[in-house]
Amino acid sequence: MSTLLLEALRNSAARNPGAPAIVWRNTKWSYADLVSAAARVSNVLAARGVQSGARIALLMRNSPQYVACYYGVLGAGCAVVALNSHERANVLARQLEHSGAELLIADRDHVEFEPLRRLAAEQGVAVMPISLGDDEHSQSLFAQEFGASELSWAPAAPQDLAMIIYTSGTTGRPKGVMISHGNLAANTAAIIEYLGLHCGDRGLCVLPFHFSYGNSMLHTHLAAGATLFIEDNFAFPQVVLRRMQDEAVTGFSGVPSTFALLLGRCRLQDYDLSSLRYITQAGGAMPRPLIQRLRTELPSARLFVMYGQTEATARLTYLDPADLDRKLGSVGKPVAGVEIQVCDASGRELPPGEIGEIRARGPNIMLGYWRDPQATQQVLRDGWLYTGDLGHKDNEGFLYIDGRAVEMIKVGAFRVSPQEVEEVIAALPDVEEVAVTAIPDELLGQAIKAVIVPRAGKKLNVLQIKAHCREHLAAYKVPKVVEFASSLPRTSSGKIQRFKLA
């Protein structure tokens, strides 16, 4: 049985209370600081009469305050609803409503704070605004807002709900992945094991904590007693590289577009990155030339190519760096405790070389989708998670990803449901019909294209469509290309043929 997160954090704090846990801008929180800040949050929740099992939503950027709130919510016996800080207030409000959250703890300076506060009030959800201090006063500010730090954490059971992460669904039907304490513990332990994470590690995180990959980077570093540097500004990769050099960072994780940005405009050889022990890459297939370049420019760092999904907490497989050359293109083998099969439509396991749907089982597989038994039954069957990804294994059991069985666009590492974008565009009165598809994008892997049929006699323009999407959707969900057509390609049965739109 893996150690649950709260206990793992307390263990790290007991071993080395003064060690830096989270470093963000000009503030540094030690393990002792983090535990006492998390205890403050737990106490505030208890004082407000929040019952164990309640959902508490968080809306804030990566920061030590997010981490303290996350662990504080768990410590109060509640579950975290980690809201996507890129998303718009109207989408977040629907997730808030769907989750049944009792309380929203939110950064009062977040761009969506005011509109979300109004919408939350209409739903009867209490809002606790907090300030994210980023200097030496950050902890006293946090203490003022939250109060006493006596530690009295409720014991959690592995099957208890710890977290809900909303992934892309239709706007009317948010899809909340339920992750248990046991899920987090198992995946954290498995990742620590294969990365060999230890208390001397200094990871740098550019991934949002509210997504599964960033979430796993956070918890693995804390459970290992390592230091995590938060860098929330990847728009300037040189700044990140300089920080990696100056802080002697030992680990860095990214998605393919992270590395495309790093290698696209920067000369890595201009920086001393000799401390960098490992790099991890997940969030979709990275083009092989990019992998090769990364290895050439950072020869001393071990590169872990990995595969997973939110429904599996984060990680399902990894490719051992020792196998990278001979198995280039593979996502490797299952992490400890996980079993992976490739199967046909009837659920029969396929032999090596044959492509089918990838299914997985293990202690990291989600409890299901929150308040959506129908969607849960579609993916959790006979003890397996059906990933919706197509793949095959080779003769040695290495897994290769061959595509998606489910219609989903991957922009950067973000999953976007075409239906969600279509729904938003279809709400415009002059739109007769619309279909959304993926197009190849050099930097992001895929981008979104919308093809729109205007109502007879009506004229629409591209800017108007994009502005409307931006008003209702996160920036990465706004179509990069918008075209108008007189009709959409359909099969004889009337189904839209998305592949013909690209």
Binding site: S257, R267, A475
Partner: protein, 85 residues
């Protein structure tokens, strides 16, 4: 000259990230990242715009918020580069 450049830069950001032609939607000193107007790939596109449309080469070490994080900062950066050229 400076005003024309400023408006050209503002128009580019308005059209590509705010999807409007209304200049009131973007203050000249508004932080592009702080307001969530552009993300990391958007900043890369702005750098391409500066290089290809404005004819100014952006060096690695010049890609910092002080040069690029608002319409005024980009304008001042481009003007200083042109003067130095």
């Amino acid at each position: 000259m400076a005003d024309d450049l400023r408006e050209q830069i503002r128009a580019f950001i308005l059209e590509n990230y705010l999807f409007t032609s209304d200049p009131d939607a973007l203050g000249l000193d508004d932080s592009l990242l702080g307001r969530g107007i552009v993300d990391s790939t958007g900043m890369l596109e702005i750098i391409f715009f500066i290089e290809e449309q404005l004819g100014v080469k952006v060096k690695d070490e010049e890609m910092i918020p002080d040069n690029l994080d608002s319409v005024n900062k980009i304008t001042n950066f481009v003007l200083s580069k042109r003067q130095a050229a």
